[in-house]
């Protein structure tokens, strides 16, 4: 044996969280359709086994829309194959994940231009005409 990677380790896969989360998403979609109520699921508080988060991501897939936000590090906002279900990942400037969410909504709030930013931008543009 020459290195740690020579030790044969094959952890038994556990995917206990995937089905319950998909069920939660299903119920959230029902609420969105019936009442327009949006839901956010914070994935940080769930005890994922190795590989389980990837399994959840794979089961939701990628849909038609994908966007990148550059503010305090990058964030990726991606609609899954299920319209209205968004996979959102916030990263810091070191490209480390600092937040991971599922948003069940028509459009995540963070994608909308914010009034404060619009006002600041309008002021900057206005300066060009002074």
């Amino acid at each position: 044996m020459t290195s740690l990677s020579d030790i044969e380790v094959q952890a038994e896969a556990l995917h206990c969280n995937v089905q319950p989360i998909l069920n939660e998403v299903l119920h959230a979609l029902d609420r969105l359709i019936d009442t327009g109520e949006a839901t956010t699921i914070d994935l940080a508080g769930l005890p994922f086994a190795p590989g389980e988060l990837e399994a959840l991501e794979a089961s939701l897939g990628s849909g038609e829309v994908s966007a990148q936000l550059d503010a305090l590090g990058t964030s990726s906002i991606r609609e899954t194959v299920y319209p209205g279900v968004w996979w959102i990942e916030h990263r810091n400037v070191y490209d480390e994940v600092v937040g991971r969410y599922l948003e069940i909504t028509r459009i995540p709030e963070i994608l909308s231009s914010q009034i404060a930013d619009i006002c600041a931008g309008r002021a900057r543009l206005g300066e060009q005409f002074e």
Partner: protein
């Protein structure tokens, strides 16, 4: 009382956009274990919050707690929370020393009387005041003097919370935790050896955001992080309930990632958030790396028997705790306990 700029002003001065601020608030909600629906309330509170003054005292400690916080490559969003406090005294981090440093501590106390936070790492010796001094001041005197005008005290790490390693039997320095001495101020314990950086940040974030301390358990620990056992949130728990245990560190069960209960895992009696928050930027936690939980966030964990002896062999003393440890997989747990006792008997015989 001196008040600094609001957090909103600090962020604005740093050129953080409103979208960036929303991202900051979403991460803060996660930190505080609050539902995402609270994000608008957090945004409103943080925007107008004033920077609190923080005095950090280090007593009988190894600097591991400070290392945990400052060497953790703090994500920028968490880092902003530290930008949002005014760390006025920390004798490991500050440039000033001796009389200058002590003058800075007194100035912060006077200017922020009644509103500053005191963070403490390390235990306090009581057997002899001379065992640990800073600038000629005993740890007890410095603590009691500094907390007089504090809004609250946060004990960082198992030493400050419960006495920790210095307090281990036979406790030659008479080491005690902050809560043993400070009786007239709110004391929040953030134990761990070291504690999870995010938990320390969360307590500060809560104070910053709502001006309050979090809800606490019977040991003074924030319930949001210490409300469940490691075992309750462990991804290997299904193996415990299926009766699949690693018997040694290199057997097939260990390689397959089975439960580490029989290798001494203290997860069933240890309250902490390692299984969900994890370490090293969320990479893993000890059990995920194949090592049993040592129970480092529990009082007197050093004196609770061998780290590799199963809970069921009785070193945790009470039958009630053993009952709690094996409560879920009753039959399987009992089988594991019996096997553990057999193993210990074998060790004793061999010794």
């Amino acid at each position: 009382m001196k008040y600094g700029p609001t957090v909103g002003e600090v962020l604005q001065a740093k050129g953080v956009s409103r979208r960036g601020f929303l991202k900051y608030c979403a991460t803060t909600a996660s930190l505080l274990a609050l539902p995402p629906s609270m994000i608008p309330r957090i945004a409103a509170a943080i925007e107008n919050a004033r920077r609190p003054s923080v005095i950090w005292l280090s007593f009988q400690e190894c600097t591991g707690c400070t290392e945990s916080l400052t060497r953790s490559a703090s994500p920028t969003v968490e880092g902003l929370i530290f930008d949002a406090i005014s760390l006025d005294y920390h004798h490991t981090l500050q440039a000033a020393a001796g009389e200058q440093a002590e003058a800075a501590r007194h100035a912060a106390m006077e200017e922020n009387d009644g509103g500053y936070l005191v963070l403490v790492d390390g235990s306090i010796p009581t057997a002899n005041a001379g065992y640990s001094t800073i600038a000629g001041i005993s740890n007890v005197d410095m603590l009691m003097d500094t907390v007089k005008g504090a809004a609250a005290v946060v004990a960082i790490g198992s030493c400050a919370a419960f006495g920790g390693l210095p307090g281990a039997d036979p406790n030659p320095t008479g080491a005690v935790g902050v809560q043993d001495l400070v009786k007239d101020k709110p004391v929040v314990n953030v134990p761990g050896c070291p504690p999870i950086p995010m938990v320390m940040t969360a307590v500060l974030a809560q104070f910053l955001t709502f001006g309050t301390i979090p809800d606490l358990d019977k040991h003074g620990r924030p319930l949001a992080f210490f409300g469940n056992t490691i075992h309750d949130r462990c991804y290997r728990r299904p193996f415990y309930e299926q009766g699949k245990f690693a018997e040694t560190f290199d057997d097939e069960g260990a390689k397959a990632g089975w439960c580490l209960y029989k290798l001494g895992c203290k997860g069933p009696t240890t309250y902490n958030a390692c299984a969900t928050v994890k370490w090293n930027q969320g990479t893993s936690f000890p059990i995920e790396s194949g090592h049993p939980c040592l129970g480092c966030s529990e009082p007197r964990f050093w004196d609770k028997g061998g780290f590799y002896q199963p809970l069921s062999t009785g070193h945790f003393g009470s039958g009630a705790k053993l009952g709690g440890a094996a409560v879920a997989g009753v039959a399987l747990g009992v089988a594991a306990a019996a096997a553990g006792r057999r193993r210990q008997a074998k060790f004793t015989k061999e010794a």
